[in-house]
Amino acid sequence: MNSWFDNALTRAEAIDDWLHEKRAASLALLRDTDWPTRQTEAWKYTSLKKLEQLDFSAGTPAPSINAHSISDLNSINLVFIDGVLQSIPADLPEGLTIMPLAQVPDEHQPWVLDQFAGVKPPQHLFGLINDTLATDGLVIDIAPHVDLKHPIHIIQTMTAGNEAHCRTLVRVGAGARVTVIEHLTGDQESFNTNFTEYSLATKAELEHYRLALQSDAALTIGGSHFNLDTQATLNSTIVGYGSDLARIDVDISHQGEGTLAKLDAIYLLDKQTHFDLHSNIEHTAPNGTSDERVRGIVAGKARAVFNGRIHIHRYAQKTSAELNNRNLLLSRDAEVDVKPELEIYADDVSCAHGATIAEIDQLALYYLRSRGIGLEQAHLMLNFGFINELIDQIPNAVLADWLRQQLSGRFTRMNTIKHSGQEMAQ
């Protein structure tokens, strides 16, 4: 045990609101859970030491800060500072309802109670902690067949000396289309947990982003979790910078027939940062497709952890699932720990996975140099191209441009460039 966890449990006990039953159930599970050690499989490569001694419960007043809105995105912005929602825009488009988690009207409570800890699986320790502590957050409801032109942009900023626990629930109605951007920022010493649960009804389409751009001393643990009903479509992009402690769990559950999920993840780490992505894709119904591509550049003494699980259940025939993870290591001290896990119980599926430590393509290098581009610059271009290839596929062009700018700026600042990686490792 440790002081942070003890303290969290004590704080959790004091919370009594309309989600009380849900919170109590998770609290009971938590009490039966051992705090992770290096022997705990799900935390094998990620240490919680920095968190264990933290005490931010007193909080520090937030300085006034600008929301990190992205110009030209035409988004509906929802800004949290240290876990506190600033405001909800007044004139929302028809078919879109946004409520603070603490003030959900009676008519919405039944589905919210169903979805709260109903999409996110119970095995995530910090998910349970978030169940018990998250009093702030959002509930977003998109009515059936609504085609929302404006992305919903949830910006969460943490400032020094603060701790926050946020929960967001998003219900996408049948045939509705929406873009949701979860955008986390801040580099000051702080801790937040941030979990989001999405349910996609029949033929719903969700374009999802989790921009985990917290860095340096900002400790952050969270997850995005999705249930897909019949023929629902998810197109998700995750971007991670890594920090002293950064962990994301993604769960995608293909529950209806003929669902489609695309998950791209990019991480760009340097210094001594840490980024841990666990993804778990469950195919429980037939004819589902999942395509997961994870690419990272790791420099300095940074460490990336990627655990990608695909679980194809017995009745999920005709599933097509692909998982590909490629890493570029830019220094000898950089490390990546990769574990693909495939569990297949259906006999008529197509499934492929691969994880590699990538090498610079020598032919591409020659091509660039044959046009007069110097060796070092050619390396930089190809290295960045390695992740830019995924940025190029981001459906929202404005966001893609913005991200390209952010990531290339960050990449340029990472100056410990070494010229090659090593072949194959898992």
């Binding site: 393509d361 591409a364 660039l368 044959s370 046009r371 007069g372 610059q377 271009m381 190809l382 960045f384």
Partner: protein, 254 residues
């Protein structure tokens, strides 16, 4: 401009060029024809400095300077340009970024001021127009998802932007339909002047009909076995390469 003497080069231990001599003066267009496997592409790769190709013997002077001591990018900056038989796809690196980096490097090497973004964009758009590639292609990854013909035109676009002194076109005409072939030939012709030289590697006379080379050479088994004027190309087109094997003093493989 270019003086190659007794060039012997190999790849993976196999000697491909077996004593090649070639002299190209400023403003000249030389065509190199020859059967498959005779070493035509190897010549381009060796000139460009591709690392897998090992020069075993001979010399190459480019504007009086020993080319073999220069790195790949140095050769490009000195004014040598190879249009590839199979231009590479580089997803993730946009055409625009690639072109800008190459043009910047050229201008820096020539001691010219760098182009502003606007100047550059205008020049790139003009070059697109010249090779009839939609300007949207500039935003895409280098050759990513381009058809064979589009890739070739993209290489020619680079040539237009980089303004090299010596252009080696390695079967740039293969895989092009008649219209595209004419377009590429027009682009090349538009770049011809008293200073700029071309070495055009091709299988077909068609491109040469448009380009009207000053010299035609036949490369066979790593050597130039016959040189002549433009009429040599039509003889080859009619009779193939077999008759050349009867030339006295030439080695012949089985």
């Amino acid at each position: 401009m270019l003086s190659i003497k007794n060039l012997k080069a190999s790849i993976a231990g196999k000697t491909i060029l077996k004593g090649l001599d070639l002299t190209v003066n400023p403003g000249e267009v030389h065509a190199i024809m020859g059967p498959n496997g005779s070493g035509k592409s190897t010549l381009g790769y060796v000139l460009s400095g591709r690392e897998a190709y090992i020069v075993e013997e001979g010399s190459i002077l480019f504007e009086g300077v020993d080319l073999l001591t220069m790195g790949i990018e140095e050769r490009a900056l000195a004014g040598l340009f190879l249009a590839f038989q199979y231009p590479l796809e580089i997803p993730g690196v946009s055409n625009l970024e690639f072109l800008k980096a190459a043009v910047d490097a050229q201008r820096e090497a020539r001691g010219e001021p760098l182009m502003s973004s606007k100047e550059f964009l205008n020049a790139a758009r003009e070059a697109c127009k010249a090779v009839r590639l939609p300007t949207e292609f500039l935003k895409r990854g280098v050759n990513e998802g381009f058809s064979g013909g589009e890739k070739k035109r993209n290489d020619i676009l680079q040539m237009l932007m980089l303004q090299p002194k010596l252009c080696i076109l390695d079967e740039t005409d293969s895989g092009l339909d008649i219209d595209a072939l004419k377009l590429v030939a027009d682009c090349v012709n538009s770049q011809r002047d008293a200073k700029r030289s071309f070495v055009v590697v091709t299988h077909y006379q068609r491109l040469l009909d448009y380009l009207k080379p000053d010299y035609v050479h036949v490369l066979s088994e790593g050597k130039i076995i016959k040189s002549g004027g433009p009429s040599l190309a039509s003889e080859l087109e009619e009779q193939g390469y077999a008759w050349l094997d009867r030339q006295p003093g030439e080695e012949k493989s089985l």
